[in-house]
């Protein structure tokens, strides 16, 4: 009995909790996944239910090159944040810039595809159910890529101004988590739209 004078005085040995930025981003990813799930479900549910053409089989072409671009940007951003952790800032900046270029290429690819679909194939969001679900699902993903690119560019600008050092690596890691998520969503969207959907 005598040992305990005040229970509050005991110091727990090691008290470490997860980094709040990571937890926050993980939660955002869960919420975003739920949004994408609903759009994917709608896409799958309406497959082949359009009353008029064109159908996915007629008009969609698999964007292999741009997919490779986006997926490899996951690797470059991962390496970039690794370099930042070790304090190698120029390598970080180079790879970070490369990530933005790859993401930009992907977005360009989406734009090109949409241009072709709208002006050559006459498929708009109001043409049929396929158009509605296709543009909203791919568009939702492209919106996320755009937001990601904007945030990556902000980091790049700060980096060029010399404000991003290895003290910021935990925050940069949070952003790269988001970018990985955007890539992972594309894997699902690609599978659903270009593989299963045709």
């Amino acid at each position: 009995m005598s040992a305990i004078t005040s229970p509050l005085a005991q110091t727990p040995e090691a008290w470490s909790l997860p980094y709040r930025g990571k937890v926050g981003m993980a939660c955002l990813i869960i919420a975003e996944s739920a949004i994408f799930t609903i759009f994917v479900v709608a896409y799958l549910f309406y497959l082949g239910k359009s009353l008029t053409g064109p159908t996915p089989r007629e008009v969609l072409e698999t964007p292999i090159f741009y997919t490779i671009c986006l997926l490899s940007s996951s690797l470059t951003i991962h390496l970039a944040s690794r370099f930042l952790e070790r304090g190698k800032r120029s390598a970080f900046l180079g790879l970070w810039f490369l990530t933005i270029v790859l993401g930009g290429l992907f977005l360009f690819g989406t734009g090109q595809e949409w241009h072709r679909l709208i002006y050559e194939r006459g498929l708009t969001i109001s043409t049929n159910l396929f158009g509605t679900t296709y543009y909203s699902l791919v568009g939702l993903h492209a919106t996320h890529v755009t937001v990601g690119l904007l945030m990556l560019s902000v980091v790049l600008l700060f980096g060029l101004a010399g404000r991003v050092g290895h003290e910021q690596s935990a925050r940069v890691e949070v952003l790269s988590l988001y970018w990985h998520f955007v890539d992972a969503v594309w894997v699902v969207v690609f599978t659903v739209v270009y593989v299963l959907g045709r």
């Binding site: 229970p7 005991q10 008290w15 709040r20 919420a31 709608a42 359009s50 109001s126 509605t132």
Partner: protein, 557 residues
């Protein structure tokens, strides 16, 4: 006994210009102030939603009444439902979570204070947009003003052809925006609980309120998002000519129902789990016993969270699903009764053998226990598909879910206000006015919602603006309306008590209820930084340990 808080007196003597105070509140990122803003905002809309309910009840008081037109009646039930769910109960729960969670887990603020402010103002903007529709909803066509599509907004009623003008757009955009606000707050709460706990505050020692808020926030993440997705689809349909819910182009009206109720049913648990949280903090303190079955309570909450995600289509039995789907959703709905039953027994077990102090917060919680049980029982009745085929869409359903939302959730909210008002303002709410309010509200509640089951069983459909005399519904409806007025008077007593006690209430001191969680260890109201030195915790009742160093809980855990 040493206090964690040094008495730092601000120069309150010199009155500051009110603009400065207003500016401080509008730009605040302090979790306590944002919590209070959430609560005040919700209480304001509680009165607004209550007025809408009263208008409906006056209209239905007798057959062939013409107090309001059918169009206005439709707007009233739509606005009443939307307001009460999204702009009363959700913000008030977020308000309490905001205020209490950092204090209870020994943190100085939320994980992301600015996100917190941003989320609140998004929610506020949502509510303002919804009500702006009364003025701005006519659009170019001059058709309609406030939304009148019901709070489910079933397709195809929401399509351009059947909802011209902008009223439905205001509804959609308001919910989309406030939904983003809710998701932001949920992210914040989870990050706070997982990353900001004070040393020694293991997950297994967290106050139940923090645990339940954690589960509620998880549910917000996975169920508000589908609603946002569905709202985006509706905007695509209405503005870009999409066909998601357009049956003319092969779209499906049923898929809106699924998307809506994938949100809509977990939403019920988003609302009720914080009510459980209040009961789990209040009942032990006024029974002078620690909560009975803490780990089981946590497990049951998590269990409700999971099962709650898989019951949504019991709202859709009447649309004619396959029998296998019906069977699945009947079974999952029945399964929910198990963890909720466990909870009721745990609260009773806490009260059993305790020295029960019948103060106002406890009165409301006892009312909650009783009414929550009945609401759960009618829920099981409606959860059986054949019974639902008979009574779905009738006043029986309305009575059932109001029993849950008013009888269980609102009672707990009143209890929570009486319990934590001293902490937030430094003054006690008046106990006699509190008891008057409790009994008035209890009588009004039972007059309204007990008797509302009967016209439902007699076949009175919901959402009708009037009815023929001589169907056996007349006197029941009169009683329901009288009950609604008594509830309205009780709410006025409550508002009067809030205002009166804020200025004239007796001083509360740090710990008026002799409670055990960390928020009572600091002054009332707590200082901006909450804790001068971050506390260390060795048990589930840190303040008990501090008050009883000779027999601390930590010895038994």
């Amino acid at each position: 006994m040493s206090s964690d808080v040094m008495a730092i007196q601000t120069a309150e003597g010199a009155a500051r210009p009110w603009v400065e105070t207003l500016h401080e509140w509008a730009t605040t990122v302090d979790h306590k102030r944002l919590g209070i803003l959430y609560i005040l905002y919700a209480l304001f809309f509680l009165v607004v939603g209550g007025i809408e309910a009263t208008i409906m009840r006056i209209q239905l008081m007798r057959p062939h009444n013409d107090f309001v037109s059918p169009q206005v009646f439709n707007r009233m039930f739509t606005m009443h439902g939307t307001t009460m769910i999204f702009f009363v109960v959700m913000p008030i729960m977020f308000g309490f979570a905001n205020y209490l969670v950092p204090l209870m887990i020994g943190a100085r603020d939320m994980a992301f204070p600015r996100l917190n402010a941003f989320s609140f103002w998004l929610t506020a903007l949502g509510g303002i947009l919804l009500y702006f529709s009364f003025a701005g909803g006519s659009g170019l066509y001059g058709a309609g003003n406030a939304p009148d599509v019901g709070w489910w907004a079933y397709a195809p009623l929401t399509s351009r052809a059947f909802s011209p003008g902008h009223s439905t757009d205001y509804w959609t955009i308001a919910l989309l925006i406030s939904g983003f606000g809710s998701i932001g707050t949920a992210i914040n709460i989870i990050a706070t609980i997982l990353s900001m706990r004070c040393p020694g505050m293991k997950l297994s020692r967290m106050p139940l309120l923090a645990w339940m808020t954690l589960v509620m926030s998880g549910l917000v993440l996975i169920s508000i998002s589908p609603l946002s997705a569905a709202q985006i689809m509706l905007v695509v349909d209405r503005y870009l000519g999409g066909h998601f819910f357009d049956t003319q182009a092969g779209g499906s009206a049923a898929i809106w129902m699924h998307f809506f109720w994938i949100f809509g049913h977990p939403e019920v648990y988003i609302l009720v789990i914080p009510a459980f949280a209040f009961a789990s903090e209040i009942i032990p303190v006024f029974s002078r016993k620690p909560i009975f079955g803490y780990p089981v309570m946590v497990a049951a909450t998590v269990c409700i969270g999971f099962i709650g995600m898989s019951v949504w289509a019991h709202h859709m039995f009447t649309i004619g699903m396959e029998s296998s789907a019906n069977a699945f959703f009947v079974l999952t709905t029945m399964a929910i009764a198990v963890p909720t039953g466990i909870k009721i027994f745990n609260w009773l077990g806490t009260m059993w053998g305790g020295k029960i102090q019948v103060k106002t917060p406890m009165l409301f919680c006892i009312g909650f226990l009783f009414q929550f049980l009945i609401a759960g029982l009618t829920g099981i009745m409606l959860g059986a598909a054949p019974f639902d085929w008979q009574l779905g869409g009738s006043y029986f359903v309305v009575a059932h879910f109001h029993y849950m939302i008013v009888g269980a959730i609102l009672f707990c909210v009143f209890g929570a206000v009486y319990y934590w008002f001293p902490k937030m303002t430094g003054r006690m709410l008046n106990e006699s006015l509190g008891k008057v309010q409790f009994w008035l509200f209890l009588i009004g509640f039972h007059l309204t919602f007990d008797f509302m089951h009967i016209p439902g069983v007699l076949g009175m459909p919901r959402r009708i603006y009037t009815y023929e005399p001589g169907r056996g519904w007349d006197s029941w409806n009169l009683i329901i309306t009288i009950g609604a007025f008594i509830q309205g008077i009780a709410t006025l007593v409550f508002v009067a008590n809030l205002v009166f006690s804020y200025f004239k209430g007796t001083k509360a001191g740090n710990d008026p209820w002799d409670a055990w969680t960390l928020e009572w260890s600091v002054s009332s109201p707590p200082p901006d930084y909450n804790f001068a030195s971050i506390p260390m915790v060795a048990s589930r009742r840190p303040l008990w340990d501090r008050k009883h160093p000779e027999d601390p809980d930590s010895r038994y855990e």
